[in-house]
């Protein structure tokens, strides 16, 4: 469903000769019904990678296929088949929850009758009947997050991309979000999920990639990785990998 090979993204930056490399030859793939975790600290390249997958950024080099379509040459097809949510995807202040979801549903070209049923269903499922006519500016963070999720899945996309969806949320809301994502996995969606919170990864993801300074340091299931690197838990695994990488870079210089 998602296939990424040797993806590189470079940004113009005065501080770095030849630009800042945000993503450096990243490769992985994600299957339907699977949650693939991207685990890494801030600035590791998670957001850049997911923005490329959602066609917002163009890769400098490498290929990325989403649901069989190339993100560079067939961006419209890709966008029609993904749901993307991050803490950057805000909701409109001067629109009600219903209008917001309806607006995006229409942009996805869902027929009106189907859309109405779909929104009804979503509002029930996400328990947002009571905020149906609330304006975005009047919503709490939790409410906004619900609207965002509804917006992300209104067109029932086969591929879902979550970029740190729980960052900045309180425990209760974060838990709700994680539960929703798990539910989506059970529906057979192909999900890619980035975070810097280790517990979420342990609970949620089938496989993870640990990403640091634009590179993937390791890929595998949590158990596999712990075994491979002889670490008792996620956290020590993470730091072990990062330390190894930094040492390798230092000795290479």
């Amino acid at each position: 469903m998602i296939f990424v090979e040797q993806l590189t993204k470079r940004f113009a930056d005065l501080r770095h000769d030849g630009g800042f490399v945000a993503l450096d030859g990243v490769s992985f793939d994600v299957q339907p019904g699977e949650i693939f975790g991207l685990l890494g600290p801030n600035g590791a390249g998670k957001t850049t990678c997911l923005r490329i997958l959602s066609t917002v950024f163009r890769p400098t080099s490498g290929t990325a296929l989403v649901a069989g379509y190339d993100v560079v040459t067939q961006p419209t097809e890709v966008r029609a088949r993904i749901g993307f949510m991050s803490n950057n995807t805000g909701i409109y202040d001067r629109m009600t929850a219903y209008e917001m979801v309806q607006y995006f549903g229409r942009l996805y070209g869902i027929p009106e009758a189907t859309l109405e049923q779909r929104i009804d269903h979503l509002f029930d499922q996400l328990q947002m009947r009571d905020i149906r006519d609330t304006l975005g500016s009047k919503m709490s963070t939790g409410m906004k997050q619900k609207v965002s999720i509804a917006r992300t899945i209104v067109h029932d996309p086969p591929v879902l991309i979550f970029d740190e969806p729980t960052s900045g949320l309180d425990v209760l809301v974060a838990r709700k979000v994680v539960d929703e994502i798990r539910g989506l996995r059970d529906q057979g969606k192909c999900i890619i999920y980035s975070t810097h919170i280790m517990r979420e990864v342990e609970k949620l993801c089938h496989r993870i990639a640990i990403i640091y300074k634009g590179r993937i340091l390791a890929i595998g299931s949590v158990a596999e990785l712990q075994e491979r690197y002889g670490q008792p838990d996620m956290e020590s695994l993470f730091f072990e990998l990062i330390d190894r990488h930094d040492e390798a870079v230092l000795s290479a210089k």
Partner: protein, 799 residues
Amino acid sequence: MNWRNVFLIFRREVLDQVRDRRTLFMILILPVLLYPAMGVGIVPLIQFAEQPRTLVILGADALPEPALIDGNHFATEWFRDPADQKKIVVVSDAAPVTTSTEAAAEKHRKLLETAQSFREPLERQVVLEAQAVEAERSGDQRAMASLRLQRKELSASMSEAFATSGMHVLVVVPSDFSRNIHQLQDTASQRQFSSLTADYPRPIILRNSADEKSAMAAIRVQKVLASWEHAILKHLLRDVGLPEALPSPVHPTEVDLAADNELAANVWSKLFPALLMMMALTGAFYPAIDLGAGEKERGTMETLLICPATRTEIVIGKFFTVMLFSMATALLNLSSAGLSGKYMLSLTGGGAGGLSRLGDLSLPPLTSLVWVLVLLVPLSALFSALCLALATFAKSSKEGQYYLTPLLMLTLGLTMFCLSPAVEMQPFYSILPVMGPALLLKGLLLSNHQTGVLFVYVAPVLMSSLGYSFLALWWAIDQFGSEEVLFREAERFDLRLWLQHLLRDKEPTPSFSEAAFAFIFIMMLQFLSLKVLQAPLQAASAVERPLVMMQVLIIQQLVIIATPPLLMGVMLTTSVRQTFRLHMPRLSDLVAVMILPLALHPLTLEFSASLHWFFPPLPPSVGEAMAAMSSDHLPLWLVLLTFALAPAVCEELAFRGFILSGFRHTGRDRLAIILSGIAFGVMHLIPQQVLNAALLGILLGWIAVRTRSLWPGIAFHFLYNGLEVCRNRFGKLFDVTGGWQLLFRNEGGLRYQPLLLVLCAVLTVILLLILSRRRPVVSDTAEPPLSPLHASPSMLMQR
């Protein structure tokens, strides 16, 4: 493009704006309230605007019949408009004093007392004046100087006292004035014309024309005195038995053709275009900021970018939203201003009241208003697209606001230029942005009899305005397609880091911004050097002028056009050779390019000649340069050096070298060639040359890219300019007779016949085909490898 998406986006954005109270207030409510409020403020101001001024008359008893004064004012009969009577309060020493209160009487007395103190210096001033006239007649320079000094001193001594005196005008009537007038009348009526003398002391009027109140009052007093004098004269004539009309044998009858609505048009033709421009711009600006930078700020931009609508659809949806608000704002402002004006007019009665001094304010005819609507569409479109592009570029709303001022200043400047009475619609102006619509609107609102002529311009104005709008929209879409723009970091500008980057991270060819800077720098230098270069030219004598002009032109080429790009090329790039394309071209290319000027020169010459009507007249300095080109007094080599070799080398280095290389960094060759061509045209400053040079610049840019070398361009440029020099210099010597007449003609210099032009066109096409034929892939480093950082933004556009 999916119009359903465009409509969905448009509807959402409009709804969003309508729900925003701030925008709604600024754009819709404010104009509706503003003009009536201004009207409410202005009406009382105008009604009480003119305070009565004080006139003191000394020696009022000596005024002859008919009565000039009636109580505290001039008599009503001396005014054309009786309302003006109360605007001058007359304080005279004629008994009795008719004031109601004690305080007023006291004030009255004081005024007269002060006035008396002016009597003596005034009379002295009159004597001095008479002496000065005498001195001037006899040519006594020394006496004149001394008298001038004395008068100046006397005036200075009076002026301060006069300013604080409380009176605005003082009239001193000589004590025997009435007697003298009577005597004159008696003598005349007895028909003893030989003993008629009018050599008696006259009244003196004292005023201070540097003080506006005094000056205005003095004008009123003089008008009253004039009509009073006329009455005395009529009386005199009647006594003598002559017709009363004798003193005014000409007295023409005035017929004013302007109908009321045309007078109105006069006011509106100035106000409407200015208001329309300003409001269409501000009306576009605030929604654009909200839709562009605002969306980034609120974090909904990414949400929108991942929806299936393409970026083009998003921009067009937003564009229509902005345009709707721009048009609504402009129309609301105009109708509010117009209706308030009309209402205020009805308040003041429309007659001689205060407002009529501003001009007639009734609304222009309906047909003119329809034109306002028609022209508003392209204007709003242009402003909306421009604002949207700027707003997309801006990182935050605050940054967006900064872009308003320059945009507004530019628009207002152009509009004000168009509104000055001397500027009239003209073919060239009609295709300029903002100016075309402004001039057309001014003309159409002005009056009806010229409009027939103006209709010719409607199509060009509308088409060019829409063209500019499309360009601006294209720019906005392009901005929206660029991830650097959409995800611009709020970076802190670090001068040291930037300089370091400039000098350290050099690439083989300059960047786009370096090339743009080089161009702007050249233009700035041109502007700054205008005075410096003109100075030697003005100092030179007529004989030397042509030679000095040659020198100045060569220096200008070397210093202003060639040096900046050369220096920048050496400092900012790693490959001077590649930047300036100093590779050897293929011989066949070089030959083809060298034949091209022969074919193109006649074509371009006749092309510009055929567009002669289109442009405003040439400035005189160009005529002088042309004359120098054809003058036999200068050696040919110098003229060729000035007009052919220097421009060929310097301009090619700058425009096809540095600037084109920089523009090509975008990865869009066609755009780079067109931009460098336009830059080359603009550098020529004179409209006629701008068009011609821009077209040739595009051709030269194309040649430079095709042949991968600067040399063919230099050769072309030299030959092309050289041909023009030779045509000017030797063309007149060429005797067009016999068979030559098929190809040439003599018409203010050597010109070309259609047959020759057809041959030239055929040759041009052949040569261009030769140049554009497929060529083997060159693996040398002539073409700059595009760094991935500068990946083509145009490809992003389609997303």
